[in-house]
Symmetry: C2
DNA sequence: GGTATAAATGGAGGCCGTCTCCGTTTAAAT
DNA sequence: ATTTAAACGGAGACGGCCTCCATTTATACC
């Protein structure tokens, strides 16, 4: 007994496994960005130089792969929210973060799936990613509410739902202007009526 | 030569063809509503009592079938817009129409695809349906702008883009409340700042 | 170094979609 | 009744997602 006292009782993952997982993530991110989420998994495996079986060993379902790719993005987004909260006035931080959000959607076409699952309900795919995003948004909204800039009764989730709309615009040609207009409309829509004016 | 002078030179479609087309449309509408857009075409064909080949004869692609199903809905929506324009004040007509829109999305799960293609860009699928919706929205927005209720610089398409967001909420359990809140936020966001107050 | 062992690999094949092709059936014109 | 072309329908091609398992390979222990 008592092997558990040994610091390295558990065998870590093999280095080829770790390397293949990393290659798959990078390839998947690039391929999703280029061809949209419709990209085939077999192609991703081929581009990564591994077999399809290996891909499924690391990511048991298509959604698991997508979520893993997103985890990076959501991480960055959460950090950006924290940063903005310290450098901008509440309502401007909110606006800026929403714009960063749509920028992320712009460059990589990802994220729409995550958003859908956040604002949808039950499915636990993307659960982690969803939590990070929700937390970030709630923090920004709470700050703005506490400062009296926006409605008291605003559900942070509603802002995410609205962003999901902005996200679905991402196909169009000059859609970035539209996305910014929409963010502004949303911000204007949630401000307190008697506030410091637009 | 000169058969073309005859009024009925062109042979109309056979009655069994017309009947099967109608049955396919009804079955597709019911099946899409029940199982979402993921419903299989072979199942729809079977439920309609025709072969898969017949389905594809009438609707060459999956998208063609979906669009045909939607054409009905968009027709109703366009008529509702005209009606509301005569019975409500401009901005309230806009709000009411947007709510009707989300109700349509609620009862039948359709429409998300159409919206996506409207606010997206190029794809000419759903082209007709898109035009009807765009026209209806433009009419309502123009009326509200002319009345001085909402911003002059509002692109009607932006409102549709926003609605696309509301549409993507349709999965959740008590999503209707969210959808209504979002519509109200959008309306508040596009009102003129010094307007008659909310 | 050599060997045992379990983790990791990869691709053949199952399943289930969309869509095509073509021999057969059938409504309608004469 | 006969002719004709439109309409039918289902077998099967093709391409996705995902499973299974024989083979390969990194690591632990002599």
């Amino acid at each position: 007994m008592a092997q558990e006292a040994k610091p390295k009782a558990v065998r870590g993952p093999r280095i080829d496994a770790r390397r293949n997982r990393q290659r798959l993530l990078e390839t998947a991110k690039a391929t999703f960005a280029e061809k949209g989420e419709a990209a085939g998994l077999e192609e991703i495996a081929r581009l990564a130089g591994v077999g399809i079986g290996t891909l499924y060993r690391h990511f048991p379902t298509r959604d698991a792969l997508v979520e893993a790719v997103y985890r990076n993005e959501t991480q960055q987004l959460a950090e950006a929210a924290a940063e903005l909260a310290t450098t901008h006035a509440p309502v401007e931080a909110l606006r800026a973060w929403m714009r960063i959000f749509v920028d992320h959607i712009a460059t990589k076409q990802l994220m729409a799936g995550v958003l859908g699952s956040i604002v949808g309900d039950c499915s636990d795919l993307y659960a982690d990613a969803g939590t990070q995003i929700k937390t970030a948004m709630a923090m920004l909204v709470d700050r703005a509410v506490a400062n009296g800039d926006i409605r008291l009764d605003l559900d942070p989730l509603d802002m995410l739902r609205a962003l999901a709309g902005v996200a679905s615009v991402s196909a169009g040609p000059n859609w970035e202007a539209s996305a910014k207009r929409l963010v502004d409309i949303l911000i204007a829509g949630v401000r307190t009526p008697g506030g410091e004016g637009q």
